[in-house]
Assembly symmetry: D4
Homo-oligomer: 249 residues x 8
Amino acid sequence: MEKAEIIRILEEYARGEIPQDRVVERISAMGLEELGFATIDTDRTKRTGIPEVIYSEGKTPEQVSAIASKMHQREIPILATRATQAVYEAVVEKVPGAIYHKMARAVVYLPVESSLTESYIAVVSAGTSDMPVSEEAAVTAEFLGNRVERIYDVGVAGIHRLFHRLELIRGARVVIVVAGMEGALASVVGGLVDKPVIGVPCSAGYGANFGGVSALLSMLNSCASGVSVVNIDNGFGAACQANLINKLT
Amino acid sequence: MEKAEIIRILEEYARGEIPQDRVVERISAMGLEELGFATIDTDRTKRTGIPEVIYSEGKTPEQVSAIASKMHQREIPILATRATQAVYEAVVEKVPGAIYHKMARAVVYLPVESSLTESYIAVVSAGTSDMPVSEEAAVTAEFLGNRVERIYDVGVAGIHRLFHRLELIRGARVVIVVAGMEGALASVVGGLVDKPVIGVPCSAGYGANFGGVSALLSMLNSCASGVSVVNIDNGFGAACQANLINKLT
Amino acid sequence: MEKAEIIRILEEYARGEIPQDRVVERISAMGLEELGFATIDTDRTKRTGIPEVIYSEGKTPEQVSAIASKMHQREIPILATRATQAVYEAVVEKVPGAIYHKMARAVVYLPVESSLTESYIAVVSAGTSDMPVSEEAAVTAEFLGNRVERIYDVGVAGIHRLFHRLELIRGARVVIVVAGMEGALASVVGGLVDKPVIGVPCSAGYGANFGGVSALLSMLNSCASGVSVVNIDNGFGAACQANLINKLT
Amino acid sequence: MEKAEIIRILEEYARGEIPQDRVVERISAMGLEELGFATIDTDRTKRTGIPEVIYSEGKTPEQVSAIASKMHQREIPILATRATQAVYEAVVEKVPGAIYHKMARAVVYLPVESSLTESYIAVVSAGTSDMPVSEEAAVTAEFLGNRVERIYDVGVAGIHRLFHRLELIRGARVVIVVAGMEGALASVVGGLVDKPVIGVPCSAGYGANFGGVSALLSMLNSCASGVSVVNIDNGFGAACQANLINKLT
Amino acid sequence: MEKAEIIRILEEYARGEIPQDRVVERISAMGLEELGFATIDTDRTKRTGIPEVIYSEGKTPEQVSAIASKMHQREIPILATRATQAVYEAVVEKVPGAIYHKMARAVVYLPVESSLTESYIAVVSAGTSDMPVSEEAAVTAEFLGNRVERIYDVGVAGIHRLFHRLELIRGARVVIVVAGMEGALASVVGGLVDKPVIGVPCSAGYGANFGGVSALLSMLNSCASGVSVVNIDNGFGAACQANLINKLT
Amino acid sequence: MEKAEIIRILEEYARGEIPQDRVVERISAMGLEELGFATIDTDRTKRTGIPEVIYSEGKTPEQVSAIASKMHQREIPILATRATQAVYEAVVEKVPGAIYHKMARAVVYLPVESSLTESYIAVVSAGTSDMPVSEEAAVTAEFLGNRVERIYDVGVAGIHRLFHRLELIRGARVVIVVAGMEGALASVVGGLVDKPVIGVPCSAGYGANFGGVSALLSMLNSCASGVSVVNIDNGFGAACQANLINKLT
Amino acid sequence: MEKAEIIRILEEYARGEIPQDRVVERISAMGLEELGFATIDTDRTKRTGIPEVIYSEGKTPEQVSAIASKMHQREIPILATRATQAVYEAVVEKVPGAIYHKMARAVVYLPVESSLTESYIAVVSAGTSDMPVSEEAAVTAEFLGNRVERIYDVGVAGIHRLFHRLELIRGARVVIVVAGMEGALASVVGGLVDKPVIGVPCSAGYGANFGGVSALLSMLNSCASGVSVVNIDNGFGAACQANLINKLT
Amino acid sequence: MEKAEIIRILEEYARGEIPQDRVVERISAMGLEELGFATIDTDRTKRTGIPEVIYSEGKTPEQVSAIASKMHQREIPILATRATQAVYEAVVEKVPGAIYHKMARAVVYLPVESSLTESYIAVVSAGTSDMPVSEEAAVTAEFLGNRVERIYDVGVAGIHRLFHRLELIRGARVVIVVAGMEGALASVVGGLVDKPVIGVPCSAGYGANFGGVSALLSMLNSCASGVSVVNIDNGFGAACQANLINKLT
């Protein structure tokens, strides 16, 4: 319950500008706005630093497009993750100008680019099969107004590739490391940079990796001490946290 | 391999100041210093932003105290985590002035306090049984030169307690949430603040929680998008990452 | 073995109304009636408060429709859960008037509405992807003669939505909470109401939730003490128990 | 946010009885009272139907006794679960008249018995090794003001024992079934009664039961439809929910 | 190495009937006969009491039919388990008279029925969704020359159905219990009969049963002491062991 | 409900030898006898072929000795499994002549040896660390009146040891195979004998075997078709089933 | 950082043959060559003894064929594993002469056969369902220039088949054992040969084997001491290590 | 069954030097020698390249010392692993000259050193808490007659330490990598050397690593292709396989 807002309401009430039942209503419903088929959380950006995003998995193309259309009308920037080609086609019909990032499986409609930060987020990945997740992270971070540097295919099986790009990684404000298989890359990077590292374990990759659990455990048990972890394949979540860190003043 | 340093060495070599075998030696051993029973990583702070720390579990009091003594001679700040009373007693004999944080199970010897940041890290915990982990996080963060605000015992079973302290939490630069049982607190906080949230799942708590796996899965699957996670009971790791975030300029 | 019924049989026997072998038969077969391809448990409602229900998963549309048809002839109310469109079409051919609840995946044929209770069951859900499970719970509860109030899409990522509907939830006689991901909603609700709360963990939802195990563990470890749990996605089971509670006199 | 209370405060404010800052304070801190070393949730009973209870595991006898003493001064009924003999001795020194239920591992101090319900809760257990959990359930339920009937040692290895006591079980308003090993008793009872059944899986029992997971999965997958489950060994939690059900009017 | 056969070979050798290299060959290759694309274990029946059986899963219809055809030529009784309709059609073309048990997913060609035992194996199942597994057990047992009594759909949700058929179950020489969900039926039957009980946990059934692990753990932890278990859905394996028991003289 | 007994009771009733309430009582309580602190299942042997046995784990020496003493008075053969030296000493004081099998951790008092079978049970074990489990199986089987042959330390690391004893194993009526580690011995024996094989996976043994889960899974997935399995370390359960098989006529 | 190469560069520098910035570049980028869409690790063979291999799972036929084509131009031997028929067809269009090993799911283009070793690798498999994995191992080993002997279908259910081929297995320099189900074959072979044994657990096979975890645990817990293990179904990895062992001089 | 030995026996038999029953006996008991309380596998070295070793865990000091004493009398080299100080003291009393490697927890009595190989095994470890396992590997390898080079404390948190020692690692004939936590070191080393790498996952280390499962999964999923794995903490097993590889001619 935010005190500043309560004070404002009370003062209006004290001045007799609003009746008592209205005061009760406003205090009990603060920060909420209902919209028929969904309860839109319109001030989520103000509250958490990240706007509402459409997670397309388990939704029909029509449902995604209906939500996107409504956001378009209200001039809210749109990001739909885990979007298939069919989802994109349904959206672009209602939201002309929407762009499809195929590898990232993301639909983006982003009119404002001016908030782009100068500092950058490094997205580092171990191999090419991690790419859908890396790109989900990169595209999400860009959507949220961050500059992103991609450093891909630098896994520890050929570790000299990593060393060659190290300067670029060290220059970032925050580093996202995406890796499947044994996920060793997060620890190696964590031991080489002095910036927060966010690990994203991947389910994709060679052989039987128990759906990404192998990489998840690796990253949780990282011997490097500045590493935290998000859920398997959650490139979106990693980008959200990286965005909050990169925007700190 | 850092280019600046290679250049410096090459220039000395070009000027004939050092012989070829010395160049080879210095290039191949850059950033390394061996010390008999252990290979001390003396420039870890410069490289990763966090100095070497003594993890006391599985070490005898004598071993911890020997390492601490050596660090004391070199005037390196000392933090020994997971330290028993016996460990403390062995250390304080060699390092007069070392302090024991009993609840945090940490021995600290910290001559320099001047680097203390103005911004602060909030350590939020769900209940009293989470306290050894919360305190490990708080003491580690303070040791690394951060200001810390503790907001304890505000779990979701009585969620109004959390709302009462929300302003303090929102004022932090980064938030650590420590919770056992179902770990719901991380999601609830993540949905209420616009700062990065680091979740620490706890093994302690009421009932059968599968050694903390319950809280770990909860936090990894958090519906709030700015939350990342460290390993079970790893208050130390959470503080390390929070420190890196809080020190970003 | 129910004493009242034994007494009745013995008295008939004592009066010579039935021969000894008939007594033996009736005592040994009490409460049982065989029907060719299945042993129908016709007095299950009397015994357990819940009639037999058709679980359609793993049955062909023909099999479901044959069972429904037989129940229709005997004027037993029909509920077929986990029913596809094809199942519905096969059933409605034999049972005109049967209704299909698409979202709940349930076919219902319910002639008697008069037993509807005045008190109500609240079905609270965290998000839209939980809806098939929430609706299975709601439709089942209504089929069993309960009034139901739906409070959907009030997950903890935007917790003020929950507070806005709290009065309605608190007015229920029993509360079903359906949630996937980290399942935190069950604990939060459990800490705010003084009615029994039944948690239903969901397999659907964002990201890698290990088929609902994450939410299941969360709810089992709930820090709120009045919460019990049914199996993953088992909206039907939650409604059955809620029905028994709501019907208590 | 409870509207009735807001109205009351606003009216006092409108009448000028309290200044604005006091209004802000009271609204933002509603239902909260801090007590130095812990944030006591004094109106938890009013909110959730169950008072605060002391979980003794992981606390020293001194800590438990300090909390109990404070509650005693405020004349709050005391229940300390998972209490050792040493805990009891520390408590009884400060709270004369406290009783120790050894088998239930519970310390109770309960001056008011008048709220005792007429209807009863049946606590049914499979074997003698389940007894600490059964007794925790029974003693907790009695502490909360319920009449309890114990039906112990009626597991399915000798199922005729169960049938002999069936009438007593059927007479209850709600049934708690405590069972380890394969936990079959919950399903068997669920198929024989028309009251809500709450299963408590036990870690104790013969052989390798994976710490109670075997019984937990059994109960979650119960073929009887009115069964819900609490966490392994959580007799306390089962009693809390049974209490809420038994007190429904 | 069987002594009787070695003696026989040595005597032939001593009588000069076979040369030394033939002796070496026969001793080192005893009980083995190679057949091009597979090493057929022709005396498996003599050695283990159970002939070779064709497991069709993962084989093409052509492969199954080729093997069956070869066995047909050598007049070996044929059982192909996990067989689809397509497998049956391929087999019957080569082996006229082969019969397809659709529910059991088994193809059988069995010329000799005379070995049928007088004593019988009872196959008891909990519900109709267990039927493919129950029938695999029943058909396998019949194929191996056993009389089988089927007692289906007698799960513990309506336990009186079981009691009604108890005499037939008790008359068996060995009992196979097939059950999914919580698998309670194995314990209940094990507590009521004095014959060996073999449990077969099923993956099929209502709800989330973790692929049969729930029933498997239940049966392994059975409180009845004469119960052993085979792998999930392994009706074939249960019938093999039941056959060995039933054939004991 | 056993018909023969019902007939007997009804005839006494018809002859007026017993009053109606006594008939009701006897029918509803058939096969049950209560004894104060426990419900003794005195006709368990008649019903299941195995008498009640005292499982000592989790009981105090006094409790075990009290039960044993009561059984001694009624001249029931006594077997207490998982018994420590202290348990034995408490028992022998009350039951002179009781014997302690240290390796098997079993206390036995067995006046009747005459029921000893001629056919025998083979207990085959892989190594010496499996011995407590093997001996529990062997001693239990002997207690139940079976002849036992022990074939120990014949694991597959030196498989020729097994072949040397094969004739003795093949002569048994039923074979118990006890093995830890990878549990391969059960499959190897299952492929060499034509008798039922019961596998007992062991938790003891070299290295990290996940508490016996490794051997359990091995035995459940045995490629030999006549193998069934009991729970980890459950030598007692294996002997119970072997006893039922060996006693078949 | 290889000293020999550093010396060479320094000498060129000392002789003034290369400028300083070129020295810096060459030292910092040693052993790396970038190629547009991928960072090819061209000297992987020199560094690790095994060339780059194309893992086809998760790649489109076009992607595999593009990589193969580029390797073909540079005259690098090509191995594409987990390749479907469609992948082969795309590759052979660009690389005429490429061969498809259907059972092994591998595409091979191997101009040089002269490096074939005299010593051989034995690939031993338990059954026919293991064949895709066995063949992946065998084909990979041959591709890497090794002689391979296949000994298939010799699982422990008919262990005499193994003994018959033992001489051939013992003659190998290193043995790969491929087995599903309970994986016992690895232990049995490990106890019979004096060469390194590499176990490959298989996910395929009869019944519920938890995706190969059963065989994996078996092999990790092998009672034979010279056995190591690769991941489930990883015939490729086993062949790589066997190749390194077989090539040791 | 070894043909050469059969031929030898047959020739003696043909020459009439041994009677028929002796031939039968010798053929059926080949390679076996019983010794009262244990079946000693005296030719295990000849058969598998590794002698019998005493695993002390779960044995009393007396038992270990009795076995060691018997081996001493027969002049067999002795290795007792997982030996406590008490075990050592019991052994040295019977076997003067036995040496205790405290860190490796191993007792060794090794009269013959002449078989020492020229090539060496590298034992590489990540940290100091892995040392008991590393030393078990190193001492076992030395006991088996191998030269060993120890490269300890070179984990990836400070990866430059590894590069500094790389030349020594690359010079080995086979490399054992011991690592806990995330086990990344095995992959990093595997990507840098052209010799077989055997990974040993460790249960010891910082934080919650699920008893070594984290490192085990990491190593099984290694992105480097020449890595195989032994069980958690199994330094002994790794040394056995490394010994077989190092002794290959």
